[in-house]
Symmetry: D2
Subunit: 328 residues, 4 copies
């Protein structure tokens, strides 16, 4: 296995510069690709060791390139990822990797056949606080998980070409599926398009899983208070990841229903300790980029990563169908 995994960052708009910076710090940045001349020359100055081009084909033709990192507009994710995989490149693609489950399935199939990495950029899955939630769930500390719900409200720029489900919900959904390790049997969304016709800005999603667990997402660009929160309700304890907290992003509540001994069949809430474990301060994007490099080197389960990304797209499509009144 080679020591260096040379990477091309494609798309230098909103998020691309962060990816470029991280891969540069990892010493893997080989190419910068964007159609915009201004962006290209600006980043060429900052990363003199990287080559630049407006031509995606030129990147794919370079045998020294191991991985392609796509942070281009959403509709281009699928065709560019497909081209890259077909050219034998590993792919890290911003979320969502495709806008239809069928397309995502096609990408996964190509990646599996050619033994390539297909990793969607689900940033939160590399957040130390989400790892802590996962640990709490898997270790059984919370007891049987009953319900997970996310609140992602009042977040910056409102997209006009992507609704709150795809733009905000993709974050929570990736975490919910990661924590529960199941795909929902029921996935229903409700919402409305108040600002731009056809683009829902307030969306509520309900998910039910084969195990009987449920999940919910409140996604909104129209809200007085900024919220980025995921709550996990277990039968023994509950945990909250609040990304608006500066320190102490995860809090565990030793709080659970318990049947009151004196009254037949009645339940009360037991309240015990509250605990916020120290969470490492590592930048999630750095961890994400490291994970991509590791997968390219054969470490970790590339197949599972690709399939998990597919599950997110499949569920989003199902939710979108119900939102639009179309049977999924």
């Amino acid at each position: 296995m080679e020591a260096v995994s040379r990477v091309a960052v494609v798309g230098l708009g909103y998020w691309g510069p962060n990816l470029a910076r991280n891969f540069d710090e990892l010493g893997e940045l080989a190419w910068l690709c964007d159609l915009d001349d201004g962006l290209r020359s600006r980043f060429a100055e900052r990363y003199p060791h990287a080559r630049t081009t407006a031509d995606f084909a030129e990147v794919l033709a370079d045998d020294d390139v191991d991985g392609v990192v796509l942070s281009t507009p959403v509709p281009t994710h699928y065709p560019l990822a497909k081209q890259a995989l077909q050219a034998g490149k590993h792919v890290l693609v911003e979320k969502p990797p495709a806008m239809h489950a069928a397309e995502a399935e096609e990408l996964v199939a190509i990646a599996e056949e050619r033994e390539l990495v297909l990793m969607p950029g689900h940033l939160l899955l590399y957040h130390p606080a989400v790892h802590k939630l996962k640990e709490l769930v898997d270790s059984g500390e919370l007891g049987e998980v009953l319900c997970v719900y996310g609140n992602r409200q009042n977040l910056g720029k409102i997209r006009k070409d992507e609704n709150a489900l795809w733009s905000l919900g993709v974050h929570d959904l990736s975490v919910i599926l990661y924590l529960l390790d199941e795909e929902p049997t029921e996935a229903i969304a409700h919402g409305r398009d108040f600002l731009t016709q056809g683009v829902e800005d307030v969306v509520f999603c309900y998910l039910r899983f084969p195990s009987g667990k449920i999940a919910h997402m409140h996604l909104s660009w129209l809200d007085p208070n900024k919220m980025r929160k995921i709550t996990v309700v277990g039968r023994d304890k509950m945990a909250v990841f609040d990304d608006m907290e500066l320190e102490h992003k995860v809090t565990i509540y030793d709080k659970a229903p318990e049947s009151a001994p004196t009254s037949y069949g009645e339940w009360r809430t037991r309240t015990g300790d509250r605990f916020s474990p120290k969470i490492p301060n590592d930048e999630p994007l750095k961890l994400e980029c490291q994970a991509f490099v590791a997968l390219m080197r054969g470490e970790g389960d590339a197949r599972a990563t690709a399939r998990d990304g597919l599950a997110v797209v499949r569920t989003l499509e199902q939710l979108q169908g119900s939102l639009a009144g179309v049977p999924a």
Copy 2:
């Protein structure tokens, strides 16, 4: 119009004592009725001017009784309210007045025919903070109202005979219908029964109104943090009623989406002042009891009060139907 409106409080369990105390302070308490001897004698001591009985019929037979206040178990609301109305008494009945829309309709019909008050005990409708929200909505200060949502989570005793929809949701729903002054065309609930089979303890409700407005309720007995909150999102401003705040229960955010001038079709969030008006400290239950007395004296719109109560039951039934998988 007589100066005194003599009232009988029926049911001295959980909530009845509060009603008795308030009607006593208003000087209207005439009867205390409960099947339990111990409760009766305890309250007889406290209110020596009131007569006590275990026999509901005795109360109804007393021509000096103008109004009957029912705080008995939920399944008895409808039959007792019906008897009382048929006996020519005004009725204040704890929520919900009936468990089926058809029953509530029957009660409303009797009350209208006999020109009697039929007032459901929707406590929040007498909360000064809710009056402030209503004033903000009706005055147009919030601009067009787009969405109202309620969070009622982690609340004390968990009922085993009433689910979170009926036990918690009735509060938010009464406020939502009061604020919007519409009945929903779509009312869908999702949820699960984790603690007691058949009794949903986590419920999410989505409502859509003829005007295009939407509403949502997150109702849960399984939650790490106690929430009692109603948020109103208007096109110009947003308002929150947070009943967990000691002071400053209502906050108005001069915050709204605005189209960014430089980018075609794009929206940003404008953030201006935040304002918490002084809200009177009056006890909502006292105001509710006063409102019942006023209605009995012919002040206010008794017909509208009864019909509003019916709308709440009708919507709850619709939500319950969808929750149980039964087409509403």
Copy 3:
């Protein structure tokens, strides 16, 4: 040792009724004493088993009375406590037991000589959250305690006959001396009388102890936010008791300065877990009354209790002296 310790509650104004209720629930209430006829007759009705009188001497003359509980106006504490001790009665006296150290010393001397209980009503010393703080300090979990500070701001009714130091500060001071188990060598107060001439409504107090520890109190009736908080800064961890929290009144921060290894002599703040232990919900006043009964029965260290109360008065007097510009 007798099973019953009969108690007389003297003074039925602001706080006395709470004391009467608690001693009644403990089955020890024998007398109710107040100069006001209306108060006496009202409480006589509520506690028919207790005798009532306007004459303090009558209480003292009753050989069946073991303890006298004084909740009379502050200036009467010393003379009434002295009379009671001289009559051979145990005494629980509201804080402060005297307004001058010399008087408090006299009371302590009489109590010691006659082997009687002299317990000041320092309510916070019976608060489970303060016990938790004490446990954290004594067990060494916080490491060496460096600094304790209290914030008691914006509290209800503003006294015109007692300044913020005596009215508010007595609470924090009793806790600080209890936690540190030392008397300060330096005790300096600064402040001003904005509302009533000669009655300081904003007071800052600085204390320095023989061990080198320091303490501070911010006491104020003029503040936008209600605070009742005590913070303990240890060399290893820090703890906060916030009495405005509904749940989780005590929080322990695994947070401390640590010398940065790379830079000679420089310090950084290490931040680890945050933990809020479950604190029992017991009513502090009930625990206080139980403690008085226990002391009367010979359980616990009555001598230490009296001396601790003296230390509080001695420190208050020192602070008052510096506040008034008088050398202590």
Copy 4:
């Protein structure tokens, strides 16, 4: 008056780079001066239009340089500022401009004599939230100001060569003197050096002004919670500037003591609205740099700026004296 005011930034360590960036954005950056070769070459790359040198004299010798910006170690502020003023340069010097009042007076005298700007870098005085506080005070909206207090606790890196009074207190003190427009007649500090001998890490300061107003500062590097807050208590309203808030940094409480009509001489707290005005998002440092440029161009009151800086040093020296047990 020339259109360009060419500026030399001296000291490229901790804070200097921010100053360089801002003066570059204003188009005024002419020189970068630092003894460290590495820093110089790094910033030379970033600002190719600026000249670099290790020799302060070279900067002073350049007739094209109008202003010198000093962000060097604190002990060098006074000698370098003096040299610069004597060379006829305007000076913006990081706080504090000198460590002794006599030195600061000397700088002010030179600046006045030579009609040069001597501006200390009191960043908070250029914070829009502080301007809002000043407006509230000066307009009389708060009523007579009674008390101002600052909390600056748990702030990042703990200095070993500068105590909490000089390192943290200089911020609050500059704001307090700016708001009250008076110099204190009494300035007393208490505190201790827990981490580094002789360097106080916890300091409490009390100030009393000729008008009778008082102020207080709680300064500490040893605290569980990060606080950066300034509270202004007026006779009619109160205002808080909380720099830890993301939005709504200033809150005005319509809250004040009022004499209770029924009880002679007693006071209660009246609670009305709470209001958080929109505060512009402008970066304070940018506004500070613009202010320096404006002063150099003859706009604003350079003399007052220098004298205000002197008042801060004079008060710090007085506080330091009392802290060290030296009579001021």
